[in-house]
């Protein structure tokens, strides 16, 4: 499949309270596996998906943060994060499992405008 469209995956949910966070990362990995490089934007509660040192072994599910650490192996090197949401939870980029690019609201609005399709999880 040749890449013809710019796709933004926008995820807004916390990692373990529902299944949408996982659906988002699965969609990202699938897109990468088919050589469609999607942009990934973590907004609102989704910043909690990125926290490092997650250990979900005792709750019977996979550790979401560790799966996200594999994104560079799928050549997804640019991960964008809602700066305001990170701040609201008292977190900084040092608390996160992977390198991210922090965006303010105007930059996020620009991202939304710059893509052909937005998949919203």
């Amino acid at each position: 499949m040749t890449q013809t469209k710019k796709v933004l995956l926008l995820t807004r949910h916390a990692p373990y309270g529902g299944s949408l966070a996982r659906a988002a990362v699965d969609a990202a990995l699938a897109a990468a596996a088919f050589e469609q490089a999607p942009s990934l934007l973590f907004m609102g509660d989704a910043v909690l998906q990125l926290v490092s040192d997650q250990d979900a072994s005792a709750v019977g599910t996979r550790s979401h943060g560790r799966v996200l650490e594999s994104l560079p192996l799928y050549d997804i090197d640019q991960v964008f994060v809602d700066q305001t949401a990170l701040l609201e939870y008292g977190l900084t980029s040092h608390d996160l499992a992977i390198d991210v690019i922090l965006l303010d609201d105007p930059a996020m609005r620009q991202m939304l405008a710059d893509h052909d399709h937005i998949l919203s999880f």
Partner: protein, 97 residues
């Protein structure tokens, strides 16, 4: 410039996030629980209006709410044909729910 569809009440985080991302060149369609953001003289409706976006409300969902007569006039009622027409005009959609 995206078409935003909002399916969350003003008390849900999706509402605030939508508001942060809504710009004057965008359109907003309220549907499902989103229709409660259009009640006249509420902070929510005023905030949506202040975004400068084109404002629409899905008519069947507004009718279900029982509040149709209390909705601010700046939200233009649309049926599904109108919804599709909006999607033709705006190249992408962002769904808030």
């Amino acid at each position: 410039m995206p078409l935003h569809t909002l399916n969350a009440t003003p008390n849900q985080s999706a509402f605030a996030q939508c508001l942060r991302m809504l710009g004057p060149q965008d359109a907003l369609l309220l549907l499902g629980d989103g229709v409660y953001g259009a009640i006249k003289d509420t902070e929510a409706a005023k905030a949506l209006q202040n975004s400068g976006a084109e404002l629409y409300i899905l008519e069947p969902d507004a009718r279900a709410s029982g509040l149709e007569k209390r909705l601010a006039e700046c939200f233009k009622p649309l049926d599904y044909d109108g919804f599709v027409e909006l999607s033709e005009r705006f190249p992408s959609q962002q769904a808030w729910y």
